[in-house]
């Protein structure tokens, strides 16, 4: 009941979705469309599950009087205000609605800026961490420098062969290496999928019984 039924459901769903590509019968295709919709629904509910976990975590912090609990209030306030604006404002999806404005002027700037911080750290790492200690590391750095120059307009001005060398690196050694990785990862993905369907890989069930 606790392990066998989920494993059986996993096997049936996996097997059906894998073989339906090869069975063009209308009944199979209709069932396939229905199951596709179910998978979408499960994903949507699973996402909401994450939100519930987030709320629980911050309530827990506030209840336990954690040092940074004031910021937990900020998170909860942000969450509640967006949910409120979304559900109470009937036209929330339209451009110019408070819900939309909060997204474009609060969420977008913060998220975009957080990721742009990486520009500073990659520059710092370029100075502190990238060392040509071995032949392999030197190759990596030389290729990186050529590509960095070849993909910006100033590279053309320095020498016309730099963009050409960049295109060659991308189309020949990079292509061969990435194709090898792609094939390897593809085989790995298939193996993992098969292990899940066949019940060999069971990490998704979590621990205990």
């Amino acid at each position: 009941m606790r392990r066998q039924i989920p494993l059986a459901l996993c096997f049936i769903a996996g097997l059906f979705m894998a073989v339906q590509y090869f069975i063009p019968h209308p009944t199979v295709q209709d069932t396939y469309e229905i199951v596709l919709g179910w998978l979408q629904t499960l994903l949507a509910f699973a996402f909401l599950l994450g939100t519930v976990s987030l709320i629980r975590m911050h309530f827990h912090k506030i209840r336990n009087r954690a040092d940074d609990r004031a910021f937990s209030w900020v998170t909860l306030l942000g969450l509640v205000s967006m949910i409120g604006l979304g559900f109470l404002h009937p036209q929330h999806q339209l451009p110019g609605s408070p819900f939309n404005l909060m997204f474009l002027n609060v969420q977008v700037p913060i998220e975009a800026t957080m990721f742009s911080l990486l520009a500073f750290y990659i520059a710092s790492a370029a100075f502190r961490a990238f060392r040509a200690r071995t032949l392999e590391a030197t190759l990596l750095l030389v290729a990186a420098c050529i590509v960095m120059l070849g993909r910006v307009p100033i590279g053309d001005l320095i020498h016309e062969s730099i963009p050409a060398a960049t295109q060659w690196i991308l189309n020949v050694p990079n292509l061969a290496a990435k194709r090898g990785v792609m094939i390897g990862v593809g085989l790995g993905m298939m193996a993992t999928s098969l292990k899940i369907i066949l019940g060999i890989e069971r990490a998704w069930m979590g621990g205990s019984d």
Binding site: L7, A46, V74, L77, G78, A143, G186
Partner: protein, 211 residues
């Protein structure tokens, strides 16, 4: 006026995040925690109104699917109710005694997506790529691509020691991999800098109108 106020809010939050470059501080923490809440709320509303409401809530409770009425207990009604119930079962995770019930839904979800990907992934990542690499060895470029792929695959082949011809191929593979990773690194730098340029453009152009 409204636009200026909203843009200024965005700019203040942008500067709050950048203050982290000097050192960690409450302004950064405020922005960091705010975005977690705001984005979770945004996603929740988008998920609800774009999917859960039209596909589960409205058909089950208001007996309507799109612009068509459906009967209580009809096939369409059941087809909306069952995935909704399966979705709700996921929430049993919060109740330790019945937490295992969530595995039923999870089993369908994990198995379904695993099965769905098998054939297309095999086709796209393996068969098509091997086919595309079956090049006539009539040019230096083609020879390099074929040797590079074989070398890369040899490098990741761990069932035998990298000695003899396998060792030669594996060492060749490392050279190709390093050049490939170098290209990726160059592009990564480009990517990160682009994000910074975007934010600077927002501050100087959209907010301050200086450029």
């Amino acid at each position: 006026m409204g636009t200026i106020i909203w843009t200024t809010i965005g700019a203040i939050l942008t500067l709050s995040v950048y203050s982290f470059l000097y050192k960690d501080n409450p302004f950064y923490k405020f922005a960091e925690h705010l975005v977690v809440g705001i984005s979770a709320g945004y996603y929740l509303v988008i998920y609800y109104y774009n999917f859960i409401d039209p596909n589960v809530v409205t058909p089950v409770f208001q007996l309507r699917l799109g612009d068509q009425a459906i009967g209580f207990g009809s096939g369409a009604w059941w087809l909306a109710l069952i995935p909704g119930l399966l979705g709700l079962l996921l929430y049993t995770r919060f109740f330790p005694k019945v937490a295992w019930v969530a595995r039923w839904s999870l089993g369908i979800y994990v198995g379904g997506y695993a099965g769905l990907g098998l054939s297309p992934v095999m086709q796209a990542r393996v068969i098509e790529q091997i086919g595309a690499n079956a090049l006539p060895l009539t040019s230096v470029t083609n020879v390099l691509i074929v040797v590079g792929l074989l070398g890369t695959l040899a490098y990741f082949f761990f069932s035998m020691k990298h000695k003899g011809i396998l060792g030669v191929f594996a060492r060749t593979g490392i050279v190709f991999l390093m050049v490939g990773f170098g290209a990726s690194f160059g592009y990564t730098v480009m990517s990160r800098i682009s994000l910074l340029i975007g934010r600077v453009s927002f501050l100087l152009h959209d907010w301050l109108h200086l450029v």
